[in-house]
Amino acid sequence: MTATDTAPMIVPSFDSPRSEGRKLAIICSKGNLDMAYPGLILANAALGEDVETHMFFTFWGFDIITKATMADLKFSFVGNTAMHPPGHSGMGVHHMLGALPGATTMATKMMKKQIADLDVPDVPEFLELLSGSGAHLWACRMSADMNHLTEDDLYEGVEGIISASDFIELTEGAQLLFI
């Protein structure tokens, strides 16, 4: 193909057999803004690495794929003793200040801005990105029943409302993340 009078050619192993058959299951059980993103970002990273990725949205994580709530997830720092303003000035923010009226709204706004500044999409657009990348999105049956929600209430890319056993069955052999 080409002359090799220098070092032999190195071709990246994009389709190495090692990644074949690798599967990742991510269980999203929290509906706070800051707990939604880790799952979304890791799923996106896995899909970009050609890893078959299944996400299961359960309990509060159901809000991530519910049309009525997905664009409006919130961040509260109550109970988060690690809370500090963006950057590390050494200044902390007492977590109980987060209980003051308006604190959650303000903290959410700030976090959304930080995320947008990095050109990272909001939750609905992120779901589209994942769907387009081939993610399998599953809704938890029990969560749907508890909230009296049906597939019509969910983001279109959700493949179905399934039971916990169904999810365990279809992610056989997968690496698993519980968030």
Partner: protein, 104 residues
């Protein structure tokens, strides 16, 4: 870093085979790099490669998959169809750029 010969030209590559010097890249080389990873470049591929090259000049880093998608108006699904498996890395490789660093 290793010096190797691709398409009759000496180029510097890293241990994965990615070009180290984006300046050593040419469109002829892109076609050869694509062949090496089993791709045949069409106009649709070229549109994306040219975007990646231009964007790298202005941004100083390789565009992520999402950036390529939003800035070129190409659905992510199509990017996966054009550069199957690991589109962001494959696009970077063919464009003679480092792997994207951004998470999303």
């Amino acid at each position: 870093m290793t010096t190797t010969t691709i398409a009759g030209r000496q180029v510097d590559v890293n241990d994965e085979g990615f070009l180290v010097e984006p300046g050593q890249w040419t469109e002829d080389l892109a076609a050869e790099l694509a062949t090496l990873i089993g791709l045949e470049l069409t106009d649709a591929h070229w549109k994306l490669i040219r975007f990646l090259r231009d964007d790298y000049v202005t941004q100083g880093e390789t565009a992520t998959l999402r950036r390529v998608s939003t800035r070129t108006g190409t659905p992510v699904k199509e990017l996966f169809a054009l550069f199957p498996g690991k589109p962001a890395k494959k696009m970077a490789y063919v464009s003679g750029l480092p792997k994207p660093k951004g998470c999303v």
